[in-house]
């Protein structure tokens, strides 16, 4: 009975430890804002497999002419589609697949400091209440993941010069 008891203790410790370990890998996402303005970016509206299940995999980098010709990669140009996409999901370097509504898990693989700033509200725009519910944006709400740099925009009119006042 003593041995059984000891075994039970050992197993429970292992089990709980394992639970804790699993949990800690999830805890890495701690502090991720809850209120997020989502733009239509879910696995449902990225039905890649609809066409791609009939196509053979071609990993070579090439100019896409038949489809996706609108996508021009100006972001880590040494990469190619399958580095970040697989099936109807996004793919991490580890091979883990994630949904389109959590792009920050993929982005933070390289942009860890920006991810940290985003979580605390320093990177990116916040709306809502300064002492209450803050509404965040996802990486892909503001940035085009294939060309993340913002495009130039037209500025508003300059203020009136004193010399132009009649």
């Amino acid at each position: 009975m003593k041995i059984m008891g000891k075994l039970a203790v050992i197993f429970s410790v292992l089990f709980l430890g394992g639970m804790f370990f699993l949990h800690s890998s999830e805890a890495a996402e701690e502090g991720v804002p809850k209120l997020i303005i989502t733009k239509p970016g879910t696995s449902e509206n990225h039905p890649c497999s609809k066409c791609h299940k009939y196509l053979s995999v071609n990993k070579t980098k090439r100019k896409l002419a038949a489809s996706h010709s609108n996508i021009i990669l100006k972001h880590a140009e040494d990469r190619w589609c399958l580095d970040c996409h697989e099936g109807d999901k996004l793919k991490l370097p580890s091979g883990q697949l994630i949904d389109y509504d959590k792009p920050y898990i993929l982005c933070k693989q390289c942009h860890g400091t920006v991810y940290k700033d985003w979580k605390t509200g320093i990177h990116g725009k916040l709306t809502g209440m300064w002492d209450g519910e803050k509404v965040y944006r996802l990486c892909t709400t503001c940035h085009d993941p294939h060309q993340p740099r913002f495009k130039q925009i037209q500025p508003e009119k300059p203020p009136m010069k004193p010399s132009d006042i009649k």
Binding site: V114, D117, T120, G121, I122, H123, G124, K125, L126, T127, G128, M129, W130, D131, G132, R137, C142, R149, F150, Q152, I153, Q154, P155, E156, K157, P158, P159, M160, K161, I165
Partner: protein, 310 residues
């Protein structure tokens, strides 16, 4: 005692007390503007200083001002007198490495805070600097830049507005105490007490104050009817105005209009006394500076960097 009642050349007999009463009434009447001699003009003339009024008196004043403004703008205008929340001191952060100089904050501010369109009043000035030159050469900065597209190569931009100093020089010089610092750190102006001497404009090292040279000209349909007594309520001709961190919004818990308008999220706002606020995080973790720090005005407006875009 018989010389108490004297006759004057007109033959009117007045005793001394009646004469003095009449004289006092005459002086008061001549000081009032005649063109709109409504019943509440007298009340406006005798209005106490905002900080000396009781809540009931403030309520009365606000009712009068709402009536006045609604009549003038032919639109129902609400004036709030929401007080500062305890344990709150507002701070502002602006990421210079993100600002693209699009002036969207300027136009959002004009709309939110009922600034005059012509003559033009802007509370925010966006300055353009050349990269790699003398650091923050304010004298050679450009305010009237007008390219087709921003951001331009080799330039960076710095919006300047009221820095909400902890030790505000503008407050010190005001001869009528029409401007003061509120408990939550916002420097405010009472437009009913401002006499338009513009000493504060001369004293401000940031050029943040604006004068109403004429009656503010705002399209009636664009007038923001949700206002605050110390903030965006319609102003008069001849008074000074400035950024109040959108007091009507921030005292209700919302972000200022410029924060919500910024397309790149360069503007940050929060409570300096809350260790978990984003403003505290950026002050503690980023490269931060305050404009003209050497003047000891202790601004609560922090410029910071998160890194230039490469």
């Amino acid at each position: 005692m018989s010389n108490k009642i004297r006759s004057n050349p007109l033959g009117i007999k007045l005793n001394r007390r009646t004469f003095l009463k009449g004289a006092a009434a005459g002086i008061t009447a001549s000081a009032l503007p005649f063109q709109n001699a409504e019943a509440f003009i007298g009340e406006a003339f005798l209005q106490k200083h905002f900080k000396e009024m009781t809540d009931v008196e403030i309520k009365g004043v606000i009712e009068r001002l709402e009536k006045e403004a609604s009549l003038e703008w032919r639109k129902e205008i609400h004036i709030s007198a929401a007080k500062a929340k305890p344990g709150v001191k507002f701070g502002y952060g602006l990421d210079l490495s993100r600002c693209i100089g699009c002036r969207k904050c300027v136009s959002a501010c004009v709309r939110e805070n009922n600034q005059s369109r012509t003559p033009q009043v802007h509370w925010i000035s966006v300055l353009r600097f050349k990269k790699g030159e003398k650091w923050l050469d304010l004298e050679n900065s450009e305010k009237y830049y007008n390219p087709k597209e921003v951001p331009e190569k080799d330039f960076f931009y710095m919006p300047v507005q009221c820095q909400q100093c902890e030790d505000p020089p503008c407050v010190k010089v005001c001869p009528t105490q029409a401007t003061w610092k509120e408990p939550d750190g916002i420097v405010v102006i009472d437009y009913n007490w401002c006499i338009g001497c513009r000493y504060c404009m001369a004293a401000c090292p940031y050029g943040a104050r604006r004068f109403n040279w004429a009656k503010p000209n705002i399209p009636q349909n664009e007038l923001n009817a949700e206002t605050h007594y110390l903030g965006n309520r319609p102003r008069y001709k001849g008074v000074v105005e400035k950024c109040t961190f959108c007091i009507q919004r921030t005292r209700a818990g919302k972000y200022p209009a410029c924060v919500e308008a910024c397309p790149v999220g360069a503007r940050k706002f929060g409570n300096l006394l809350d260790p978990k606020s984003e403003i505290r995080y950026l002050i503690e973790n980023k490269r931060v500076f305050r404009l003209k720090e050497d003047l000891n005005t202790e601004p609560k407006f922090y410029y910071f960097f998160t890194g230039w875009q490469v």
